[in-house]
């Protein structure tokens, strides 16, 4: 009998029952709640007279709507009335049901996918869900984690289970050594460029190979975060010593003897050597250069030394049409060099790239340099209050401010522009977020996805530049 994949093991460990019709009930260990996708779920519970199955499996924090400017006035001073109601609704729902919530001005507040692991809420071998597609992030720790809709948020609150169907197993193996200046973000953008935005549909993607093993856990989070941009709800990385050490001493992680017991169990959270994957994609780390997206889908990506594609050279009619439409929206011309794209704003933040290592990488680039005069704004938004405090302890905030960047309070911010941080029509933004869809960062806004180092380099020169060249100067 063939061995098991990590996904097979996680699935089997959480299987509550299998029905004759092929559907299964799987147990959910952890649910994270935020203000946008939970109000209707709580309302549904109330209407049906149901109670949460297990209060202690849930953690909440507002992130999508919160302002990132000074907010000592509290929730009552959120300017946008609709946002204010949504944040207040989360607060009152959590208070009513007794769910632990890190409210807006708690130092532990932040982006759900930064906060969960940071608090040891996410643990290796657990199942984690949230009404947010970037829940795939938590798979970096060998947890089975994926986004769900609001009906399922309600279902998990009421039953601690999900009705699910087993996904296919896909392995993306990145072997070799990443070059200097090439980061986890470049790896995942490159992977999406190779397999496409539907390349992982129906699959749980395990990211393996020596290049993935050599990444820090934060880098692995960046990779798993964008599994959904390759169509896969689930991204996974096998557990190793780095994973285990990450959780030592975290607030909700086991402590003392129980930690050692857990750590021993977590060591088995790897795919067996003879495990069978339905699909395997192999990528050479040496082939990956710093990446920049030029279009309106994350698969519309090229290396920084490349050019915008020409639809005339595309043989597939639907694809050629997609390229034309994207060029028009983005205000770019066919064959234009990536380094010729002028920028209006830079955004460093989001659940993809707002952790301490991301901020260090960006600070290293801008240290002693100034933001280009042509830029309207360069925002740095830490992923949580704790990341912010750590960055300030290291003096990173001063480096950003001296360079002419804005240092903000934690939240999702300009990644999806539900708060006041947004692009104006036609503005180009170098963004460390995860989606470059039309209008994502603001009506008519033009997003280019890049790594924190590449965003910082772009901020300095005002257009895209290979960060490796800038740092060599």
């Amino acid at each position: 009998m063939a061995g098991k994949t990590l996904y097979d093991k996680l699935w089997e460990a959480h299987l509550v029952r299998q029905n004759e019709d092929g559907s299964s009930l799987i147990y959910i260990d952890r649910q994270i709640l935020h203000e946008v996708t939970s109000p209707q779920a709580f309302e549904g519970l109330r209407l049906a007279g149901r109670k949460p199955w297990r209060i202690d499996a849930n953690l909440a924090t507002p992130d999508h709507n919160v302002p990132t400017t000074a907010r000592s006035g509290g929730v009552d001073e959120i300017v946008d009335p609709v946002s204010r109601i949504q944040v207040k609704t989360l607060d009152s729902n959590c208070d009513d049901f007794g769910i632990v919530e890190f409210k807006m001005n708690d130092t532990r507040q932040g982006i759900v996918h930064v906060v969960g692991p940071e608090q040891g809420m996410t643990l290796p071998g657990s199942t984690v869900v949230c009404g947010d597609s970037h829940t795939s992030t938590h798979g970096a720790f060998g947890a089975l984690a994926h986004g769900i809709g609001t009906s399922e948020v309600e279902h998990v609150l009421a039953t601690q289970c999900l009705i699910a169907k087993k996904m296919k197993n896909m392995l993306v193996r990145v072997d070799g050594e990443l070059g200097a200046g090439v980061t986890a973000k470049d790896v995942v953008l490159h992977i999406i460029g190779v397999i496409g935005t539907a390349g992982g549909t129906g699959c749980a993607i395990e990211f393996g190979g020596s290049a993935i093993r050599s990444l820090s856990v934060e880098g692995r989070m960046t990779i798993c975060n964008m599994a959904i941009e390759a169509g896969a709800r689930v991204g996974l990385v096998a557990v190793d010593e780095k994973t285990i050490e990450y959780f030592r001493g975290r607030a909700f992680a086991p402590q003392g003897e129980l930690f050692e017991q857990a750590a021993a169990a977590w060591k088995s959270l790897v795919s067996d050597a003879d495990a069978k994957f339905d699909r395997v994609v192999e990528i050479r780390a040496e082939d990956i250069k710093p990446q920049v997206t030029w279009g309106t889908s994350p698969e519309m990506v090229v290396a920084v030394d490349g050019s915008v594609p020409n639809p005339e050279k595309e043989s597939d009619a639907v694809k050629a049409d997609g390229i034309r439409r994207a060029l028009k929206y983005m205000g770019l011309s066919a064959d234009q060099k990536i380094t010729d794209i002028q920028l209006d704003r830079v955004f460093i933040g989001s659940c993809t790239n707002s952790r301490i290592e991301d901020l260090r990488a960006a600070a290293e680039v801008v240290k002693g340099r100034k933001v280009a005069a042509t830029l309207k704004q360069a925002l740095v938004v830490p992923g949580s209050g704790l990341v912010k405090a750590q960055a300030e302890a290291e003096g990173l905030d001063k480096i950003f401010i001296e360079a002419g960047m804005e240092w903000r309070e934690p939240g999702c911010s300009m990644c999806l522009a539900m708060n006041p941080d947004k692009l104006g029509p036609g503005e180009h933004c170098a963004s460390t977020s995860n989606r470059n869809f039309e209008g994502r960062q603001g009506f008519g806004g033009r997003t280019h996805l890049v790594s924190p180092a590449m965003a910082a380099a772009a901020a300095v020169v005002g257009h895209f530049v290979d960060v490796r060249e800038l740092m060599a100067q």
């Binding site: 029952r17 147990y27 996708t37 209008g439």
Partner: protein, 216 residues
């Protein structure tokens, strides 16, 4: 949940691949704490020429007359024809809520993004996968024939064109059962409460650190 058994309605062709959930319902409308009322903002940035705001009366906004749903021949459409990877992006259930609120009951495409696909079934909306050649044929027929209607028979799992052509489709047995009977998932799962409790008892022994951990 609303039942779905047999449906006949006008088909509208949305001819672009990778239609994402930001396109289906832009983020500013996600601030609502209700499930209903998203229909006027479905495809907001494609449908109108200005930037939409939550709680705005959309009746006086400038329309993008080129957008398919603004063409009079597709008024009242309830079957959406789409291209590959429809519904990619975020997990927002506001996307199927908006499609449903507008009046769509069926979406036909060569492929769907996983989370969106799943969310549709929770809202009485039927996503149907047909192969590319079949979808191409339907696109050609709908564009050539004003008032073109499609019938979807969930019990028999077929899409029926006006000329009587039948296109068989697959649907998960459990989801089909729930749609046909308008069943509430939570009620169904709670029938297995004893299984869930038994699992918890066993799991508590194996992985005690996963219990009683999150508290103030």
């Amino acid at each position: 949940m609303k039942k779905f058994t047999l449906h006949t309605g006008i088909a509208a062709p949305l001819d672009r691949a990778n239609v994402d959930t930001d396109m289906i319902i832009p983020k500013q409308f996600l601030k609502s704490i209700k499930r209903a009322g998203f229909g006027p903002n479905l495809f907001d940035e494609l449908r109108y020429l200005d930037e939409g705001q939550p709680d705005q009366d959309c009746s006086g906004r400038p329309l993008n007359t080129e957008f398919v749903l603004n063409q009079p021949r597709y008024a009242g459409a309830s079957v959406l024809l789409a291209r590959e990877n429809f519904g990619c992006g975020s997990s927002r259930e506001h996307a199927p809520w908006a499609l449903d609120d507008y009046g769509f009951r069926v979406i036909i495409a060569p492929s769907f993004a996983d989370i969106f696909y799943n969310n549709c079934f929770k809202n009485g909306l039927l996503p149907i996968v047909l192969n590319e050649a079949q979808v191409d044929q339907l696109f050609k027929e709908v564009e050539a024939n004003q008032g073109y209607q499609l019938t979807v028979d969930l019990e028999r799992q077929v899409v029926i064109s006006p000329s009587g052509d039948e296109f068989a489709f697959e649907v998960d047995a459990f989801r089909k059962h729930c749609l046909l009977n308008g069943l509430d998932d939570i009620g169904l799962t709670l029938q297995y409460a004893e299984d869930i409790k038994a699992y918890e008892t066993r799991r508590r022994q194996e992985a005690p650190w996963l219990f009683d951990a999150i508290h103030n």
